[in-house]
Symmetry: C2
């Protein structure tokens, strides 16, 4: 059994910071669960265009307020606590936070923790540290 | 892109009720994500002994307070918002809620939504409706 605490992990190497967001990776590939689990904070006012070519991701809103635009259709979905979106088609999307949002994110395949978002906003599959 | 809202799903067939807990399945096997995602509420005072022989599960505490006992070691871990536990060894465990707990649960392989907990507390793999 693995037990971890966000409140400790947020001050550890499990936290990564980027423009408009930071993320705490509570479960990674090495944990052997077959998925990774991250608590990601989208900063107030952030607008992030993203597409994960190599991963499926679901995102559940714990707190905050914003919206997500599906770039394929132009449709905009409101995000508030209790809303989940799942990028089942590697959907390109734009995420906007009107108020800081805390999100529970699941990635399949699991993130290794060594990826960086590349120029398309994607995580490369099985990236190795360089 | 799939978008769902817990606040609607909680009044739908996505909700299942059992002794001491209820669960809302926001993503199931049919969604094709390779995992399922549930928001599960453990009722105040509940004490649940469980073991999933056929699934790996991670559980992140969004709200509430309780503890989890690892039956293999007797160790008891406190649960409060931000704590995650992952049953990476199909661990038999006892979950106790001192205050009602809301948990974000991920199952691999994904739950189909047709399982019932059997007499060992496990979900059978690929159960079909009877």
């Amino acid at each position: 059994m693995i037990v971890r605490d966000y409140n400790e992990a947020v001050n550890s190497r499990r936290r990564i910071d980027s423009d408009g967001w930071h993320s705490v990776r509570l479960l990674l590939k090495d944990d052997g669960m077959g998925f990774s689990f991250h608590i990601t904070t989208i900063h107030e006012g952030a607008e992030l265009e993203m597409q994960y070519a190599n991963h499926l991701e679901s995102v559940y809103c714990i707190s905050g307020e914003g919206d997500i635009e599906d770039c394929a259709t132009g449709e905009i979905h409101q995000i508030r606590p209790g809303v989940i979106y799942a990028l089942d088609k590697h959907d390109r999307h734009i995420l906007r936070a009107r108020k800081e949002m805390q999100m529970a994110c699941v990635f399949n395949p699991p993130v290794t923790g060594r990826e960086v978002h590349d120029e398309t906003g994607a995580y490369p599959l099985e990236a190795e540290p360089v």
